[in-house]
Structure formats: structure tokens, C-alpha cells
């Protein structure tokens, strides 16, 4: 008998040891933040530790590996200990996650938002996503290489101010490519990275321009049927990138974003398309020869009429959401944490200096702006009243599957195995079918 009891006890002990770790609950609110940006993981960890020290509220920060945010969120949010604070990438992301988004209309964070139009609103008028960073992208250029070119005999332009449309950009780029040995570069543009998973600068960011102009013509902000009316403009700039590069078009399928940023940082190329988040990638490259003063932004010109006044592409795809299925205490704790980050001195300092964010909140003074050269350029373009910023419309792109298919088509186009008309057709068809699939499933 004794044996049996021992046996039962042993079994119970083993099973409970196995099951422990699933339990543990606290009545106080705690924060579980699912971070989107791997490059700033450490900053968030430090901020969380500081906040816990100050207020005693437990803050857990988990960062999804690059490109896996949706996957990680999908599995994490099904847990009992689900993220209380997460982010969506725009209206399409909101449609996918709306069952999990809490109305944030009455939060202080929303009241601080400078441009209320930036927030994600639902059909019921609630506020479900609040942007926490404004970013900009364009063509980053190396001013010292450009000056070297302007000093050459027979240069087609004499200053950057003259390059304010596609025709000039094309003429200058092609002339520079022809004189690349004189300029000491391998090509004008850095590699158009088309390695699968590394093509977001083209299928998302560059693709924003034709979509922006099409939406603008039609006066809409989303559509189920994209006509891709500006496809020739996309082709203009894409051809210019791949034909005047340091890499042969046929080899672009092996290049990653890091490769192109390194080429720029090492002074091998004069231009690279990317956003202000790219400064860290440029300055962090070993043997980097580009100084901060020489790093500037040029808007992406594609040959649209009136583009002389076009500015950088400025917007956001980072919106905070509070998990509506979390407990009330956790929700309140999460809101308090975010508000602390964007209003307390310590929080703001970290946001400006360590995260390098241009925060769209009125709690930040003019002095509290990031100081890295690209962020400064974004701010300069934003405050230039003669320039019209291009808004980020890729947040309305139907799905990742659409973007991947577009990127794959661009790769085939660069390899010469697909005609441009087929790329155009694929974009139109895939857009329509993915939008229809999403609509049918809702």
C-alpha cells in the first residue's frame, strides 16, 4: 500500500513539475510589449527596466525577429499571457486585428497626437491605432561624390538643386555611370536588393509612389482594383536603378539590403534608396567613409508632371494597439507605460536619442528631435512648405502575399525572364484577387 502511495505521489510530482510554468497570475496590471523593430530591442528593454524600477509595474518586452512580426504576434496573442501592447501596420493590419484592438479615443496619448488624421479609426469612430513614429524615405545620396561630379568638365548639372525631376536625375545618373572611374565609384546606385525577403524597398516603398499618384488622381485612399496607371513611372525609376548600379541586373537576386547599405557606406556608390532608419546601417559599417554631413536625401522622382515640388515619402506603419482581450488592469498598465515613454523626461530622451524617432506628439519640443543626419533631413523636408510630402499608401496594399509576388516579378524582370507588361498585369491581377479574397473572408 505504502508503495502505491509513493507511486501516486511521484507521478503527481512529475506531472505538476511538467505543468508548472503555465500558472502564476498577479492581480496587478502588467505590460507585455511586442516590439516590431529588432534594431532597437535593447533600447526598449532598458526603458522597460527603468519603468519597472520607478513604478514597480512589470514590463516584458519581446521582439519578433525581422520579418516575422505577424507570425509571432499570431501565436503569442493566443496565449493566456498574451501581449497587452502590440502594433499594426495600418488599415490593412487593422482589418486583420480589429477584434484585438481597444478603443483608445480617451487616452492621453491620442490627445497628444499632433495630426489626428494619422490615427487608425474604425467604422464606429473609435481610435484603434496610434502612430508613434514618423519616418521618411527617399534617395539617400553622398554629397561629396556629387560635388566631385559637379566639378567635372561637362557635368550635366552643377548643384543638387537642379536635380528636381526625373529627366535631370536620369541624365545625371547616366552621365555619372559613364564617368564612374573618374568619380572613383563602382556605380551610381547601390544594388537593387532582390533577394527574396530583401525586396521590400521596391515592392513596398518604391511601389508607394505610383499608388500615391493614382489615389491622388482618383481622390481615394484605398481601392479594390488598382489600375496601376503610373506603372511606366515605376518602370522609369526601376530601370534607372538596375541599369546604373554597381551590380549587373542579372546578379541582383543575390543582394540583400545590408549589401546595398554597405556599398553606400564604403563610398562605392553615390546613391541608395532607403529611409531615415538607415543611418545606423550606414554609420555601423566597418570602414565606413561617408561622413554625417555628406548624407542627404533626394525625393524619388519618377517622371510625373509637377514633381518638382514633390518631397520625401513621409508617413508611418507603426501604430500602437492595446489588446482588447487583456484584463482591464493590464490594459491600463500598458497605456500608462506608453504615456510614460512619450511624456516623461527619461522616456522622451530615450525616444529621441536612442530610438531616433521623430515622434508625432505635442509632448515633444522642437529641441527634442533626433539629431542623426537623415532624421534631420526628414524634418527639413517636412518643414519646407514648398514641398509636398508623399504619404505612405502602401499600408493599403492587400497582403504580404501581394508584395512577395510583386517582388518576385521584379526579380524576374531584372533577370530578363519577364516582360514589363507581364509585371504590370501581375500587379493588377494579384491586387484584385488578394483584395477580393480578404473581402470574401470578412
Amino acid at each position: 500500500m505504502k508503495k502505491k502511495i509513493m507511486l501516486a505521489l511521484l507521478t503527481v510530482a512529475m506531472v505538476s513539475a511538467f505543468l508548472s510554468g503555465c500558472g502564476s497570475k498577479s492581480s496587478e496590471g502588467k505590460v507585455y510589449y511586442m516590439n516590431f523593430k529588432p534594431e532597437v530591442d535593447q533600447v526598449w528593454q532598458d526603458l522597460a527596466a527603468k519603468y519597472t524600477k520607478e513604478t514597480g509595474v512589470e514590463v516584458k518586452v519581446v521582439t519578433a525577429a525581422s520579418g516575422t512580426y505577424e507570425q509571432t504576434l499570431k501565436s503569442e496573442i493566443a496565449n493566456t499571457d498574451a501581449p497587452t501592447l502590440f502594433q499594426i501596420n495600418g488599415p490593412v493590419g487593422y482589418q486583420a486585428w480589429k477584434e484585438y484592438c481597444l478603443d483608445l479615443k480617451d487616452t492621453k496619448l491620442y490627445s497628444w497626437l499632433l495630426d489626428k488624421n494619422l490615427a487608425i479609426t474604425g467604422e464606429d469612430g473609435g481610435v484603434y491605432g496610434i502612430p508613434y513614429v514618423v519616418e521618411g524615405y527617399g534617395i539617400i545620396y553622398n554629397n561629396s561624390i556629387m560635388n566631385k561630379y559637379f566639378a567635372l568638365d561637362g557635368a550635366l548639372a552643377t548643384s543638387m538643386d537642379q536635380i528636381n525631376n526625373f529627366a535631370t536625375l536620369k541624365a545625371v545618373a547616366e552621365d555619372m555611370q559613364a564617368k564612374k572611374d573618374q568619380l572613383g565609384i563602382n556605380g551610381v546606385f547601390a544594388s537593387t536588393s532582390l533577394l527574396p525577403g530583401e525586396d521590400w524597398r521596391w515592392q513596398t516603398h518604391l511601389a508607394n509612389l505610383p499608388v500615391y499618384y493614382e489615389y491622388k488622381d482618383k481622390g481615394i485612399s484605398d481601392t479594390n482594383n488598382l489600375e496601376f496607371t503610373y506603372s511606366d513611372n515605376f518602370k522609369n525609376i526601376f530601370d534607372l536603378y538596375i541599369n546604373n548600379s554597381c551590380t549587373e541586373p542579372g546578379l541582383l537576386g543575390s543582394k540583400s539590403v545590408n549589401d546595398s547599405m554597405a556599398e553606400f557606406a564604403l563610398g562605392q556608390v553615390a546613391m541608395v534608396q532607403n529611409g531615415n532608419w538607415g543611418w545606423g546601417q550606414i554609420s555601423g559599417v566597418e570602414g565606413n567613409v561617408v561622413t554625417a554631413e555628406d548624407v542627404k536625401f533626394l525625393p524619388i522622382y519618377t517622371g510625373v508632371a509637377g514633381e518638382e515640388n514633390q518631397g520625401l515619402c513621409i508617413g508611418t506603419e507603426n501604430y500602437f494597439c492595446i489588446n482588447s482581450k487583456a484584463s482591464k488592469a493590464d490594459q491600463d498598465a500598458s497605456i500608462a507605460f506608453v504615456e510614460w515613454v512619450f511624456s516623461s523626461e527619461e522616456g522622451k530622451a530615450a525616444v529621441t536619442n536612442d530610438l531616433g524617432f521623430i515622434a508625432p506628439f505635442n509632448t515633444f519640443t522642437d529641441a527634442e528631435k533626433p539629431t542623426d543626419p537623415l532624421a534631420k533631413e526628414v524634418i527639413r523636408y517636412m518643414s519646407d512648405t514648398t514641398k509636398t510630402s508623399v504619404s505612405w499608401n502602401f499600408t493599403s496594399f492587400p497582403s504580404q502575399d501581394f508584395k512577395d509576388a510583386f517582388g518576385a516579378a521584379l526579380l524576374e524582370y531584372a533577370n530578363g525572364t519577364m516582360a514589363w507588361d507581364d509585371v504590370k498585369k501581375l500587379v493588377i491581377d494579384k491586387w484584385a484577387s488578394e483584395k477580393a479574397a480578404a473581402a470574401a473572408a470578412q
Binding site: K74, V92, L194, A437
Partner: protein, 280 residues
């Protein structure tokens, strides 16, 4: 004895059984149920019946992935087993350094699939760059890249199993055959192969299931590029589940169908090769 087994059942089997239940049976049952549901996260689903299954064939991705997987599996299974068996034959002879060779050939199997994928991506790209092209330029490169990669990874493992099988052949049997004047080809065909049939069953089963279920290597090597032409079934399921909005149910339905396919093929193969096994 019987009683003792029963008495100790809870200690020895129960923990594993519970773990198996949590990690396999429950997710499996949930997975089958979810394939009939619309859901965003696995704990929040609404039943929709067979809708997901009809959507599997709404586009040709799944069929294309199936054809690619099948072609890949056919070639990879053949080459892996033939090469592994040949290596095993060579390394069961009395030559110097057999153990060293066995270890070396086995080692690739200890490296994870993702890493192998990236390593081979660099190797193949480094070769193709001389011809002005890349691995993702043409699906043919991706296909053969994958075949080479899988051979490199699995041959060592299969070789070890074949070596064990070959070493188990009674030497008197081989000697008797030699005395009867069997040539080495006859020895191989009439004695060795029939005697290692159990190893062949295992190796075929492992290569069949591995080839059909292949995921990491596919993801790391080409990720389906160009334009999903080198996408295998598991990767297609993954991309449906995570890459598209409101298609989680379809992805799940594809996964169930995938399970049935792989199970049917693998079991069919087991039955077929089992029949050829002989008792010693």
C-alpha cells in the same frame, strides 16, 4: 511480469504520454478542427464547414507546389539512397580510416536545415556569379540546388543505417555464397540487398517523409523564388497561413490535406517494402 508492467505503467509511461498528448495529440485534433473554421488566432475560431477546403484550389499555388515537391522527392529519394548505399558498401570494406570517413560523412546531418540552406545559397551563388546569374534566376537552379543540399545532408545518416544493416549480414552466408562461386555483383544482388531490406525500408521511409515535409532548407535556399516556382508544399502552407490576410483557415485545410497525402505515400511505401523483407 504482466502485473509488474501494469504497476509501473504510471511511472514510466504516463509522463511521456502526457507530454505526447500536449505536444502532439491535442494540437493535432485542434488542427483538424481549425481546418473547418475561420480564425485569426487558434483560440478564437468560428466554424464554417468545408469552405476552407474548397478554397485550397482557388489558385494554382498548391497544385504547383505539389508537382514541384513530387518531382523533387522522386529524384532526391533515388539519389540519396543509391549514394548512401554505395558509400556504406565502400566503408564496410576493410580500408584504412573507415571510422574517420563515417564521421565526416555523418557530420552534415548535425547542422540545422536553415543554416545548410544559407550555406548552400552562398556556395551556389558563388559559382553561378561566374556565369552572370544567380540561384533565384531560374527555377531549375533552385531545384537542383535543393537536390544537392538534401543529398549532402541526408546521405551520411542513411549511410550509417545501411552500414548497420550490412554489418548484420551473417558472414557464413557471404562465405557460403563465395565458395559457391558467386561474383561480387551476384553477391550484392542475391545476398546483400535482400538481407538489408529492413534498412532499405527505414531509409526509404525517412527519405520519403523528409523530402515531402521539407521546409527549412526550402525557405533558406530560395524561399520559393522565382515567383513561387521552387515552392514546396510545406512552404506554401506556411505562406498561406502567415502571408495572407483571412486565409489562416485555408492554410490549415492545406495542412490537413498535406498530412493525409504524406501519410498515404509513406504508409504505401512501408507496406510495399515490408513485403520484400525476409526473415533471417
Amino acid at each position: 511480469m504482466q502485473k509488474a508492467l501494469k504497476r509501473y505503467f504510471p511511472i514510466f509511461v504516463l509522463p511521456t504520454l502526457i507530454a505526447f498528448g500536449f505536444a502532439f495529440i491535442i494540437p493535432f485534433v485542434m488542427g483538424v478542427y481549425l481546418s473547418f473554421c475561420d480564425f485569426k488566432t487558434v483560440t478564437n475560431a468560428t466554424f464554417v464547414g468545408f469552405k476552407n477546403y474548397t478554397e485550397i484550389f482557388a489558385d494554382t499555388d498548391f497544385v504547383n507546389a505539389f508537382i514541384f515537391t513530387f518531382r523533387f522527392a522522386a529524384i532526391a529519394i533515388f539519389t540519396i539512397n543509391v549514394l548512401a548505399f554505395s558509400l556504406a558498401l565502400v566503408l564496410t570494406r576493410k580500408i584504412k580510416g573507415t571510422n574517420l570517413f563515417r564521421t565526416v560523412f555523418f557530420m552534415p546531418n548535425l547542422i540545422g536545415g536553415i543554416i545548410l540552406g544559407y550555406i548552400w545559397q552562398s556556395i551556389i551563388n558563388a559559382i553561378l556569379i561566374n556565369y552572370g546569374t544567380t540561384l533565384v534566376a531560374n527555377p531549375v537552379y533552385g531545384f537542383w540546388g535543393l537536390v544537392i543540399l538534401m543529398n549532402w545532408q541526408l546521405i551520411g545518416y542513411m549511410m550509417i543505417i545501411y552500414i548497420a544493416g550490412l554489418q548484420n549480414i551473417p558472414t557464413d552466408l557471404l562465405e557460403a555464397a563465395r565458395i559457391d562461386g558467386a561474383s561480387s555483383w551476384q553477391l550484392l544482388k542475391k545476398v546483400k540487398i535482400p538481407m538489408v531490406m529492413p534498412s532499405i525500408t527505414i531509409c526509404l521511409f525517412l527519405t520519403v517523409s523528409n523530402s515531402f515535409k521539407l521546409f527549412d532548407q526550402n525557405l533558406a535556399l530560395t524561399a520559393g523564388a522565382p515567383s513561387k516556382k521552387t515552392q514546396m508544399l510545406a512552404l506554401d502552407i506556411y505562406n498561406t497561413f502567415y502571408g495572407r490576410n483571412f486565409a489562416e483557415g485555408t492554410g490549415q485545410a492545406k495542412a490537413v490535406l498535406f498530412f493525409l497525402l504524406v501519410a498515404a505515400i509513406a504508409l504505401g511505401q512501408l507496406v510495399l517494402t515490408r513485403r520484400k523483407e525476409i526473415d533471417q
